[in-house]
Structure formats: C-alpha cells, structure tokens
C-alpha cells in the first residue's frame, strides 16, 4: 500500500495536496484497496460551498457505496469529470487522480489533518484493529 509524501491525510482516507489556497482532494491507496473495484463516482457541483467534514461526493464499488467527505471548508472550483466515465482511474492511480479542487476559506482546517507518518499509523491500526 502506497502513502505519498508531502500530502495531508484525513481519517476518512482522503488525501489533500495544497497549492496556495487551493486543495486537490482524492482518495488514498488504502481507501481504493478497501473499496475494491470502483464502478461509479458522483462528483460535487461546481461553485458549491462545502464545510469541513461535509459530504462532497459518493463513491460506489462492487462491494459498497461510500460517502466522500471534504477535509476542509471552501468552494468547489473544479471537479475531475474524467471519473464520470472512467471511475476505475481511482483504482489505478489514486494519488494521480483528484476528485475535486477546493478553494479553501480557512487554512486552519489543515491543522486537524494527518501527515504521512500519522496516516500510515492509522492505516496499520485499522488493518489490524477492529473486530
């Protein structure tokens, strides 16, 4: 399982790449492995305002339907439309494919996120833990 350096991570298994006040959001390798083959992605609407922790999309795999949450608050300024016709891209290249770009309005949101070491520990715990 891959964890990329230089990204922020959420406990909901999303990654965040920050460029100035823009945040690229996607799902991690851990997330795509556990979801299994992804067959449908419902993207957020452009210009939609999102809260940290608010839902920004739905990811459907053969096993389950999962909500995707925004790790930061702000406005959706771009969505990755390619995923609508090729949801498998999230399986093939989870860190290369963002789901949306959020223009952040509160960079303090980033303080609550994990770095790669913390995220790696979380994944390890989840892999072994739980009943």
């Amino acid at each position: 399982m891959k964890i990329q350096e230089g990204l922020y991570y959420s406990v909901e298994h999303e990654w965040l790449r920050v460029e100035d006040d823009k945040a690229y959001v996607g799902i991690t390798d851990f997330a795509q492995q556990h979801l299994g083959d992804i067959v449908f992605v419902e993207l957020p609407e452009l210009d939609e305002a999102v809260e940290a922790g608010g839902q920004i999309g739905v990811i459907e795999s053969v096993k389950a339907v999962s909500s995707m949450f925004s790790p930061v608050s702000g406005t959706i300024i771009e969505v990755n439309e390619e995923l609508e016709n090729a949801p498998e891209l999230l399986n093939e290249d989870p860190y290369g494919q963002h789901i949306a770009v959020i223009k952040m309005n509160n960079t303090a949101d980033l303080d609550g996120l994990l770095n790669e070491t913390q995220y790696s520990e979380l994944c390890e715990k989840e892999e072994q833990g739980g009943e």
């Binding site: 083959d37 459907e60 053969v62 389950a64 949801p87 739980g130 009943e131």
Partner: protein, 480 residues
C-alpha cells in the same frame, strides 16, 4: 442461456383462433389521429401454448426460493411462506373485491385490516398503524415524513438532520434523503453498538430524529436503548424503529416499550408473506398516540359494528400509496399471526434466535466471528481466516455455497465489518437442515485450506458461472 421468447418466435404458431368479427369495423385512423398510430405491427412473439408453458417452466427451474432450501440472507428474514396464507388471500371475498366498492359492501375486508392493525399495535407496542406503505423502505419514507410533519406542526423548523448509525441498512439514509433530511452518521463502538458519546455529541436542536434497527445488523441488541431514547427525546428528537429485525424480538420485547415513537414492520419478513420478486412487500407504519394525526389517510374507523374509511384527518401527511396498501399481503400476514397466536409469535422468535446462535457456535472454529457473543436472530462471520490462508474472500465463499445447493448469505454488509458474511437462518429451519449447512460451510473452510482453486473459481454447478460484477456495473447492458 435459454433463448428469449422473442427468439423463439415462430410466425403463425399462436395457439388461438378468433371467430370472424360480426361488427362493422371502421379504420383506426377514424378514431386515432394518424401521427399517433404505429406503422409496423408490434413484435410480440408468437408461440404455441405448450411452448410458452415450457419456456416459463424452464425458467422456474432455475429459480431458488425458500421452497427449495435454506435461504440464509441476513437482515432479510427469509422464512417459509405457509401455503394456507395463499388460500386465505384467494378467498373470493378478499380476492374479488374492488377498491372503489362502498365501505358497507366490504365490511369483512375492513374488519380484517382493522384487526391486523390492532395485532401489529400489540406486537410493536404502538397505538395506531397505517397499512398503506408497499415495502420496508416505503415505510421508512412514510416514517420520516411523519417526523417532518410533527416538527413542522410544532413550528420547529430548525431540525434538518437525521441521525443514522454506520451499521444501518442503506435504505435508512436513502429514504431520509428523499424526504429532505441531511444524514448524520453515528459511529459504532468496539462492541458493535451505538457509541453513546458520539450520540450525545451529535444530538442537538437541529436533529429531527434517530433511525435505529434493534437488534442491529450485527444481530446485536442495543442494550443501551433506554439511554439512547432519553438522549434523543431529551434533545427534542423522535426515535424511529426500523423493523427489519423485528423477528428477533417479537413476542418478547416491544419497540414501543423501549421508547420508540415510530416503527415500520415488514410483513414480507417477520410475518411470513413472500419476499422480493415473489412479493409484493408490505411495510405498515405504527406510531404512538401523539403522532397518530400525521399518519397517512384514510385510516379504518369502527363505530358500533360498522367499519368505514376515515378521511377526516386534517394533519395527515396524505396518501403514500393508491388505495389501502397491498391488501392480499395483509390477508396473508393476518392469517399467519392468527395461526401462531401470541405464544406462537414468541416461540418463532425464540427459535430464530436459537438457530442463529447454534450456527454461530458451530461455525466459530472455521470462520472468524467478529462479535462472538450471544446474538439475536442473525450474526456476522468473515473470511478473515480464509483470506490469510489462501486469499479467499467472502465473495468466493458465497459463490462456493451455491455449489452446495444454498442461496448465499448477505455479503459485504454491514459495511463496518470487513468481508462480512451475514447469516440469518430464521426459525423455519430444522436442526437437520442447519447441520447440513454447517457441514457445507466446514467443507468450504477445508477446501479453502487444501484446494483453494475450487473455491476461487466457484460456482461450478450453476447455469451461469462466475459473473464479472465489475464489468456488469461499469458497462451494464440493460436492454436486449
């Protein structure tokens, strides 16, 4: 694959002949404008009667139902459908009435509906029931609409959120979404139950209610239900009971006594009427007295000895279905409840719980059981051992079960358990049947160790082998 009817078409083979028409025929164009008339004849397949009968008989041999064998689908209560229920529903006084008949000419039907309502009230601990909703999810939607109507009527417009545990059936968030609520997920704790701290943190004056299945989808009873009810009611919310797992407590405990305000029951699960394609379903919704005014209308009213349909209900959310619900299904459930009586209802519940625990204990050596303690009517196993030994997943085990002649259990649900395999035997099954199923599961565990390929490539005995589910979901071909 068998050919489709349209592929079996043999022009001229229709097995009927109409007598010559003795009416004066006028051209269709005289009565229907020509732009609305089709130019070509519809492609209706022509087959002789015997070939049509054989077609459907062949298809019926490929179906699997509770009449074929164990159907251990979890959170589904696939119990036997007693055949006497079918007799009852086909009685001419029930089968041949018309919904527009005046009430005084269908007193028997109304009496049956009224008595079914009373019996459901007694079983669920509620004060009134509507029999209209056509299935479980429809009942949930009706319940959510009642919650909304209640808060709206009390000028409480801030409540826009519904609390739903992460172990819930997918229909809970789906139906509340349809009604316009925002879903807020509640976390389960390490025991597989609602995390009370999480509930306390999320319960505020924007929460309309909590939808809860008890026992939950892990087959575990929410033992803190008293405290849960206190927290929700204390915050001004209502407590909704998803009746999918009512079979696990019926005759023993009642949602109404646990503090639930609204409940839906599935007649096609708990009360033995056919399920799925053999349905239709029926999802009556019951409420405590303070919510009765919001129930869909009409309700059945009894004055003296006369039954009537009561439409004078100004606070009602209105109709949720045409006419009075799936009436034939209600007749079957009525017959079932009367046949069992109050002792039989309790006995069915106890047998269902005993059967589930018997399976759980017999399977625990071969399969990982994440919450391995006294369960109610169902339990969750996983393929963790098989996964570690030979990369065999729950899906592989489910497919292999088909080779042993069983319908697979519910898989990959609840979502909070990895590789979940959820088994609900119901009270219907005998010890001998359960032992056969246990033997099949033990064999599969052994195969997983010794000859994993046979499991990984299952099923081998079915008409259609392993389906490419990914391809089917990504590129569905939905028309012929």
């Amino acid at each position: 694959m068998p050919k489709l009817l349209i592929e079996k078409n043999v022009p001229g083979s229709n097995a009927f002949a109409l007598p010559p028409c003795d009416l004066n025929m006028s051209p269709l164009e005289d009565s229907i404008p020509s732009q609305f008339l089709r130019q070509d004849a519809p492609r209706i397949p022509e087959l002789s009667e015997v070939e049509a009968v054989r077609h459907y008989t062949e298809l019926s041999h490929r179906a699997y139902g509770v009449d074929d064998g164990l159907y251990p689908l979890g959170s589904c209560t696939m119990k036997y459908n007693p055949k006497i229920n079918e007799w009852a529903a086909r009685l001419p006084g029930f089968a041949h009435v018309h919904p527009y008949q005046p009430a005084r000419t269908v007193q028997g039907c109304l009496q049956l509906m009224s008595e079914t309502e009373k019996m459901l009230c007694e079983i669920a601990g509620m004060d009134r029931f509507t029999l209209q909703p056509a299935a479980g999810a429809h009942g949930e939607m009706t319940g959510a609409m009642i919650i909304k109507a209640y808060h709206t009527h009390h000028q409480d417009h801030k409540r826009t959120k519904m609390l739903i545990p992460d172990s819930a059936h997918g229909t809970n968030p789906a139906t509340t979404n349809v009604v316009g609520y925002k879903v807020v997920e509640l976390k389960s704790n390490a025991d597989g139950l609602i995390d009370l701290d999480d509930l306390r943190a999320k319960m505020d004056d924007e929460v309309a209610g909590l939808m809860l299945t008890n026992p939950n989808t892990l087959g575990l009873f929410e033992k803190d239900i008293d405290e849960i009810a206190k927290i929700v009611h204390g915050g001004g919310g209502l407590l909704y009971y998803d009746g999918a797992n009512l079979n696990a407590i019926m005759g023993v405990a009642r949602p109404g006594d646990m503090g639930f305000d609204i409940v839906h029951v599935n007649l096609h699960k708990t009360f033995s009427t056919p399920h799925g394609g053999g349905g239709p379903g029926s999802g009556p919704v019951g409420v405590k007295a303070f919510l009765a005014d919001y129930l869909p209308m009409p309700l059945i009213k009894k004055e003296g000895e006369e039954y009537s349909l009561d439409y004078d209900r100004p606070l009602s959310i209105g109709r949720v279905r045409s006419f009075y619900g799936n009436f034939g299904v209600i007749v079957k459930a009525y017959a079932y409840i009367l046949a069992l009586g109050s002792e039989g209802i309790r006995d069915a519940c106890e047998q269902a719980v005993l059967n589930a625990n018997y399976l759980r204990i017999k399977l625990r050596d071969d399969y990982h059981i994440p919450f391995d303690r006294l369960c109610k009517h169902e339990f969750v196993a996983t393929s963790r051992k098989q996964m570690e030994e030979s990369h065999i997943s729950t899906l592989d085990i489910a497919k292999r079960l088909m080779d042993y002649g069983y319908h697979p259990p519910t898989v990959y649900f609840p979502l909070i358990v990895k590789e979940a395999l959820m088994v609900e035997p119901t009270e219907t099954e005998s010890r001998e049947r359960l032992d056969d199923f246990i033997a099949a599961m033990q064999n599969i565990a052994q195969e997983s160790r010794k000859t994993p390929d046979i499991v990984l490539s299952a099923p081998h005995s079915t008409v259609i082998k392993r389906i490419d589910e990914v391809q089917a979901a990504r590129n569905p071909i939905v028309r012929w």
